[in-house]
Assembly symmetry: C2
Homo-oligomer: 150 residues x 2
């Protein structure tokens, strides 16, 4: 989580990612759409590239133009970003969404992002336990074991 | 998204929320588990209370003790936090998760958080369009319409 905050927690980074999901590719376009200072935008794009969420490459239509594109890792964040937007609409904006997500084919709004069991049943928070993974340090393992007893 | 970053984007806030999900309730316990400076912890808890994600209340077992608990809004963030942790394990930590999420009853790991259609089919990023909601300003509406053409 500390690592996650480092990467996506900085001011503007979520906005830059959203722009990238909207199809923005060029530095000047990010700058214009976001109204962000050039030095801050350059820093955020650099960090997203370093973290492997975006890549910097020559445009396929004009080799002199540099594009920033979401990598596979960056694209894999879309359920989290959709879930966060849905949550914000409901809990920060009284259900007044500035953006809705629909299935292209049907035009129907997608379901609220939730957690499913391995066999596809929706789970509530109370149904879920956190357990230490292979990479956990012993103190986190102890914390999770303590939490499980509550 | 700007509002979301304001609330959960600050350093430590995601860690404080994770602690709260683990069942931590008392200021001193947050401080000890996170190794966080008291003034920063106080600030983050204050902002989470102001944003309606946590509430400050007297302990039910000892009225002299103050507890910080997740509100319903805060609890509703769990799919996003689980999705973010799963994403970080896979994309930042080479699949070495420090934490796994399991269904209590079966002990089986939960499914990766994804986006489903209204009738429950898993959707890929390419299947989804963003459209302006009732609360969108005209410029966002124009942006989304432009993005839809790509």
């Amino acid at each position: 989580m500390a690592r996650v905050t480092e990467i996506i927690g900085e001011g503007w980074t979520l906005m830059v990612l959203r722009e990238a999901f909207l199809g923005t590719r060029h530095f000047n376009e990010f700058e214009r759409e976001l109204g962000i200072a050039r030095n801050i935008l350059a820093d955020r794009l650099k960090k997203l590239v370093e973290a492997g969420l975006m890549e910097r490459a020559a445009s396929t239509t004009d080799r002199r133009v540099v594009e920033y594109r979401l990598t596979w890792s960056g694209q894999a964040l879309f359920p989290v970003l959709i879930g966060l937007t849905q949550w914000a609409s409901e809990h920060l904006c009284d259900g007044q969404a500035s953006m809705r997500f629909v299935e292209k084919e049907s035009g129907r709004e997608v379901a609220p992002v939730g957690v499913l069991s391995a066999d596809g049943r929706p789970l509530k928070l109370a149904d879920i336990a956190m357990v230490a993974g292979p990479d956990a340090d012993p103190s986190l393992g102890a914390r999770l074991a303590k939490a499980a007893e509550r």
